[in-house]
């Protein structure tokens, strides 16, 4: 039973990572390397929390969080897509800005707790039929609605990217913007839309932390999860379905050290905390040694597109 509760907790710990990762996958698939994930998550976390406390309405809180994350992405998009600024530097600046924004907004929120009505809204619900499957049901289908939203988002994104014309266009924009432009796809528009939707998803990931996972406001609530999400994108080979599995795995790593203490095992939590990054580096290395296209990432990643320079 301990094992099942551990896996169920891993799914929960993986949910903020999942949203941020899906957002970053969408962003990177369109050729933008946005390292501002941590910043956008923080912006979403604080705005979601603030709106939640003010309105007591969970839907408005989520919309607020998405708006905040999306706003961060719009700044990033304007600078990198329209003004062709360096993507890495802009992303890092966005993280500085987002952290400042969240700390500033959150100053009056420190110690505040999510209202009871919203806690009830976000409490775990057992899905009919699925929740009764032995083992699997207890791990995956007796979770809070936010977790289910994560599953749905991952599947919808997977279908979108691999089975629709729009998804095909996005992938071309990310791989070879010149070819996309020549075939009549509006490169800038695709980049903008996917950046902003990606940012909104990062904001949702942040809101999960402040509204459900903690659920109270504390400074630096993301604690580096944005960077784990960047790692997870690589681990998942830019694939939303694999992100679903990867998020559970990384979520498990996030909590395993704490759980191991109960068994008096002498493995430091801090060494275990290194694992996501080490695993990601291994994936990067193996991908490059085998020249794997799948794990190499979009070809146009990090390069601003300029039609006149083609």
């Amino acid at each position: 039973m301990a094992l099942i509760s551990f896996f169920a907790a891993a799914v929960v710990a993986g949910t903020p990572l999942l949203f941020a990762t899906l957002g970053e996958i969408l962003t990177e698939k369109s050729g933008n390397l946005n390292l501002g994930v941590e910043g956008m998550m923080l912006m979403g976390a604080v705005v979601g929390f603030q709106v939640g406390i003010m309105t007591q309405n969970p839907y408005l809180a989520l919309i607020g969080a998405m708006g905040a994350g999306g706003l961060g992405a719009i700044i990033y998009g304007f600078l990198t897509i329209t003004l062709r600024a360096n993507q890495v530097v802009t992303g890092l600046s966005l993280t500085i800005f987002g952290a400042g924004f969240a700390n500033y907004m959150g100053q009056k929120l420190i110690g505040q707790v999510v209202p009871e009505s919203m806690k009830i809204f976000f409490r775990p619900v057992s899905l009919p039929v699925l929740g009764d499957i032995p083992y699997i049901g207890a791990i995956f289908f007796r979770q809070d609605p936010f977790v289910y939203l994560g599953y749905i988002t991952a599947i919808v994104l997977g279908i979108y990217l691999y089975h629709t014309q729009y998804g095909l266009h996005v992938r071309v924009v990310g791989e070879n913007p010149g070819a996309a432009d020549a075939s009549g796809v509006s490169v800038s528009m695709y980049k903008y839309i996917h950046c902003v939707v990606g940012g909104a998803l990062c904001g949702l990931g942040g809101a999960y932390l402040s509204l459900v996972y903690v659920p109270a406001w504390q400074e630096n609530v993301t604690a580096g999860r944005g960077w784990i999400a960047v790692a997870l994108v690589i681990f998942a080979a830019w694939n939303p379905y694999k992100a679903l599995i990867g998020a559970c795995f990384f979520g498990g790593l996030d909590i395993v050290g704490f759980r191991l203490q109960a068994f008096d095992l002498k493995i430091s939590q801090y060494i275990i905390n290194m694992l996501p990054y080490i695993v990601t580096i291994c994936v990067l290395i193996i991908a490059s040694v085998r020249k794997s296209k799948e794990y190499g990432g979009p070809k146009g990643l990090g390069i601003p597109y300029f039609r006149e320079e083609r």
Binding site: I96, Q107, W227, V230, S268, L284, V289
Partner: protein, 357 residues
């Protein structure tokens, strides 16, 4: 239709005008925000200035904040010059600090004159090796260095945390997770009230400027960055150049780590880099990879940081607001690069050009 043209030649004074305009625009935007908070923007900016220059002590604080940014930016610039996107400075600082601290803690009875140089070399090796690992994989397999170096940061940070909370924890600190303070001999001496890091930094600026522009290796690094094929055609060993460049890049970051551990915190802690590795990426980029410009930009950024912490006490404006201000200024300056590189031609201007012809 709105068209863009890449500006062929643009004078230094034009570039400076655009940059200064960007900074003013960002100060204006932030000023509106400060007004919105109910403060007078002029007095806030004024007190940021007096917080950075107002007294000898404050000026020293500003310089103390410049030193790590400056040295780290010099290091990052070497890698960027080769178009190797080393964003792992944070980790390289940590590992440099770790190696230097190893000697500081285990050979504390050595005299300063021997111990400090050993720590310096250890710092260079620690930072250099940490940069070399992704470098080797990039050179031989083409592994994506941006993501690789980024991940290496967190491994280094967790490693230091592990040491601080585990094997290196000071048993005399009453359970408080900190590493033992260095002995006197492991702490950099002061000159004019500031640790000698500032002399090291200025020396390094001169050395790096000379190295890049007046030595063969420096030239090779520039050529590899401009075009790898050209470098190969000219008979350069590209892999070797990249690896040497990275040793230098990481080594400089390692020096930062050694200085910060020795002179600022007098011990090793997770805060040893304190985000300098990331901030320095921005300062490096804004300075256009030129060593003298790095001095200026790092100093300006240190004013922002120091002034930001000062307005917290003077106006009760939280430091996070200053952090946002940093972000806003960066956005504007990054955006202004566009107007340095490109000329926007609006439809009405096109017709005017035709009439003139």
């Amino acid at each position: 239709m709105i068209r863009l043209i890449k500006k062929a030649d643009i004078s230094q004074s034009q570039i400076m005008t655009i940059r200064i305009m960007a900074v003013f625009l960002s100060l204006f935007t932030a000023g509106v925000f400060i007004l919105f908070l109910g403060h007078n923007p002029f007095s806030v900016y004024g007190s940021m200035m007096s917080g950075s220059f107002g007294s000898l002590y404050r000026l020293q604080e500003t310089i103390l904040k410049t030193i790590p940014l400056l040295i780290t930016s010099l290091g990052i610039a070497v890698a960027f010059r080769m178009k190797f996107w080393n964003i792992g400075a944070e980790g390289q600082i940590c590992m440099g600090a770790f190696c230097a601290s190893f000697f500081a803690l285990h050979f504390s009875e050595l005299p300063s004159l021997i111990l400090l140089p050993i720590m310096m070399v250890a710092g260079i090796v620690g930072g250099g090796v940490w940069a070399l690992i992704p470098g080797v994989f990039k050179a031989y397999f083409g592994t994506n260095e941006t993501l690789f170096t980024l991940m290496m940061n967190y491994i280094a940070l967790k490693w230091i945390t592990y040491l601080q909370y585990g094997p290196w924890k000071d048993p005399d600190a009453l359970g408080f997770p900190k590493i033992k303070n260095f002995s006197e001999s492991a702490i950099l001496p002061n000159i004019f009230g500031i640790h000698i890091g500032w002399i090291i930094a200025l020396l390094l600026v001169a050395i790096m400027h000379f190295f890049i522009h007046y030595t063969k290796k420096g030239y090779e690094i520039t050529v590899v960055g401009e075009s790898e094929n050209t470098a190969r055609y000219a008979g350069m060993d590209v892999k070797k150049v990249v690896l040497i460049g990275l040793l230098i890049s990481g080594g400089l970051c390692g020096i930062t780590g050694m200085i910060q551990a020795s002179a600022i915190s007098n011990t090793l802690s997770v805060e040893v880099s304190g985000g300098v590795g990331f901030t320095a990426i921005i300062t490096t980029w804004l300075s256009g990879l030129s060593a003298p410009m790095i001095v200026l930009i790092s100093f300006l950024f240190a004013i922002l940081v120091q002034g930001g912490s000062f307005i917290q006490t003077a106006f009760q404006i939280p430091q996070s607001a200053a952090q946002m201000l940093q972000g806003v200024i960066l956005f504007f300056v990054l955006g202004s690069e566009f107007f340095i590189q490109y000329q926007v031609i609006f439809p009405w201007n096109q017709y005017m050009q035709k009439e003139e012809n």
